[in-house]
């Protein structure tokens, strides 16, 4: 099961993640304490990794020159002043403090969490649209090979170019498009861009999955005189699960990225993208505050990807990818 990377993947993602778990999965063992212990160890190591990042940050802040390292007129290492690099504990401590000095202000973490929830909602809407369009396209491409030949090269090509650049243009659609009672809302522009980024990995993962059944299985279905729909439901969709899950996870991560970027470029209020920019603007007086929404965005990405991973737990029986040959 080597993959030299002929498999094209979303440009906004990485290749390894597109492969079904087949080649990275440890040998199956009956669940039990061993599994739990391994899960715990993984968390511990991850925390250690995080600690290293923090240590590097604080170490450089302690030892690095105040004006950073400038080579040939370009600053290659950052300034270490408290303004440029606040202490990690300051960033975290700032989360508990109120956003502004006004007495009625909410704490920063709450503001960030609410904004993150708004963005998550928009990203989820975009993700759903991306799933529908991506799986739909994959079904069409699987059904008619001429469609695959006609569409797939464009999908692959469009992954390699920064089409997301058109995000600011979509803003112009807001409140100008009206179809009957339907009026184009600003958040829809954001969801549209999120769905656009989500759909690539899903379309490609779904197509791969739908095409993954071995000849022996398709012929078995043929020998049962099973029609297209029966083959789809009993064979192709279950077989696609191990391919779909990583694709859906990447789609979710992409939807979050798309939503954040689109919020920034369309200037939509209420989401995390907006406060990212807003708090960064106040960084000269309150440098630690700018990190609040960054932590929010990180958690947002992890939550989105993690929710899809939960789906994988539910569908675990479909992930017994070891061929029963």
């Amino acid at each position: 099961m080597t993959d030299t990377g002929v498999r094209e993947t979303s440009a906004v993602t990485d290749a390894a993640a597109m492969t079904p778990a087949r080649d990275i999965r440890p040998p199956r063992r009956p669940g039990g304490p061993g599994r739990v212990r391994r899960g715990f160890a993984q968390w511990a190591w991850g925390l250690a990794g995080l600690l290293v990042v923090v240590l590097v940050w604080e170490g450089y802040k302690l030892l690095g020159p105040a004006d950073g390292v400038v080579v040939g007129g370009a600053r290659v290492l950052p300034r270490t002043t408290d303004l440029a690099m606040p202490h990690v504990w300051e960033m975290i401590g700032r989360l508990a403090e109120p956003v502004t000095r006004s007495p009625s202000a909410q704490p920063l973490w709450l503001v960030v969490a609410l904004a993150a929830l708004t963005t998550l909602g928009i990203a989820a809407a975009g993700w759903l649209v991306g799933v529908v369009v991506g799986v739909g396209l994959a079904l069409v491409m699987q059904r008619w090979r001429i469609a695959e030949w006609g569409i797939l090269p464009w999908i692959v090509l469009s992954q390699t170019v920064p089409l997301i650049a058109f995000a600011p243009v979509v803003k112009s659609w807001g409140s100008r498009v009206e179809i009957g009672a339907f009026e184009w809302q600003d958040w829809m522009s954001v969801a549209l861009i999120a769905s656009y980024l989500a759909f690539f990995p899903i379309a490609i993962g779904a197509l791969k999955g739908l095409q993954s059944p071995d000849r022996i299985h398709t012929e078995l279905m043929q020998s049962y005189a099973a029609g297209y729909w029966q083959t789809l439901v009993k064979l192709r969709l279950p077989a696609a699960v191990p391919y779909l899950l990583p694709a859906l996870r990447l789609g979710a991560a992409n939807a979050v990225i798309g939503a954040v970027v689109a919020e920034v470029s369309t200037g939509l209020q209420g989401g995390i993208g907006r406060i990212l920019i807003q708090f960064a603007g106040q960084a000269s007086g309150d440098p630690a505050k700018a990190w609040g929404p960054i932590f929010g965005a990180i958690v947002l990405g992890l939550v989105a990807a993690g929710s899809v991973a939960l789906l994988g737990v539910i569908l675990k029986d479909y992930r017994r990818t070891e061929e029963a040959a």
């Binding site: 080597t2 990377g5 243009v169 659609w173």
Partner: protein, 276 residues
């Protein structure tokens, strides 16, 4: 054991076209789809009358492209340079850390969760604070974003490549009493090379996208991203689209160059792939 099913072409659905027709269709079909979309677009704009702010016509975009070529070219240069610097830094760091992770288990265990998280979080969110860390007039914030974004696929693919050496080869090296350096040169690197190149190819597109998107988050103007948002903000939609087209061209350039590099190095060593 005879397993003929493996060596045969994949099953046709019903009875497929003959091999020669297939080759032709594989070229004709995408071209036809492309022309169809372009035609439908122009039709929507010039016959149905879709307004400019929704979708400018291809013709007007080309016009703007020609009219603003000097500014487009310099913007491509700025964004392209940022992407390139980011790609190089990210790739070097990715390969180096992957080599460490392949060598020392603790590094692997500590970096795996961090990199996995990095793959799903919006890295561009760092853009505003990077601008204040490196100074508002510096392009380095964008380069750092591009570097972080490229780092992820390069690291993951390289680590994968380093793990591809088969036990039989490693034991052979042991039997030859090869030094670690020799093992690296004659076995590990050639096996990992296709994986590294794939990582860089994927990273190339990511670098351009990230460098461009980072411009939406503030910092010095003049790059493609900031020009797109300025044009869109001043309702010059066709011009904004012209810059979008330029970004596409830039992304394609990066992709094709890295693809060419991959092909070139692969051809020189066709058997380097770690297929067992």
């Amino acid at each position: 054991m005879a397993t003929p099913a493996v060596t045969r072409p994949r099953p046709t659905r019903g009875h497929g076209p003959s091999p020669r027709t297939e080759t032709t269709l594989r070229i004709v079909a995408p071209v036809a789809v492309g022309l169809l979309v372009l035609g439908a677009w122009q039709f929507l704009v010039s016959v149905v009358g879709v307004s400019d702010y929704l979708l400018p016509s291809p013709a007007s975009i080309i016009e703007e492209f020609a009219a603003y070529w000097p500014s487009i070219a310099s913007a491509m240069l700025i964004t392209g340079a940022n992407s390139l610097v980011g790609l190089v830094i990210g790739s070097v760091l990715g390969i180096a850390l992957a080599a460490l992770a392949a060598r020392w288990r603790p590094v692997d265990r500590m970096s795996a969760p961090v990199v996995a998280s990095l793959a799903v979080v919006p890295i561009v969110a760092l853009a505003p604070v990077l601008n204040s860390m490196f100074g508002a007039d510096s392009q380095f914030g964008r380069q750092a974003i591009a570097a972080l974004a490229s780092f992820v696929p390069v690291f993951i693919n390289t680590l994968r490549g380093f793990r591809q050496t088969t036990p039989v080869h490693r034991e052979l090296m042991r039997a030859y009493a090869a030094t670690p350096g020799q093992v690296l040169r004659t076995l590990t690197l050639p096996t990992a090379r296709p994986f590294i190149l794939t990582g860089i190819r994927i990273a190339s597109s990511l670098a351009v996208i990230s460098a461009l998107v980072a411009e939406y988050f503030g910092g010095p103007r003049g790059g493609l991203g900031s020009l797109i948002s300025t044009s869109a903000a001043s309702s010059a939609y066709a011009r904004a689209w012209a810059y979008v087209v330029a970004s596409i061209a830039l992304g394609l350039l990066f992709y094709l160059v890295t693809l060419g590099l991959e092909r070139m190095l692969q051809r020189r060593a066709p058997q380097a792939g770690g297929r067992p």
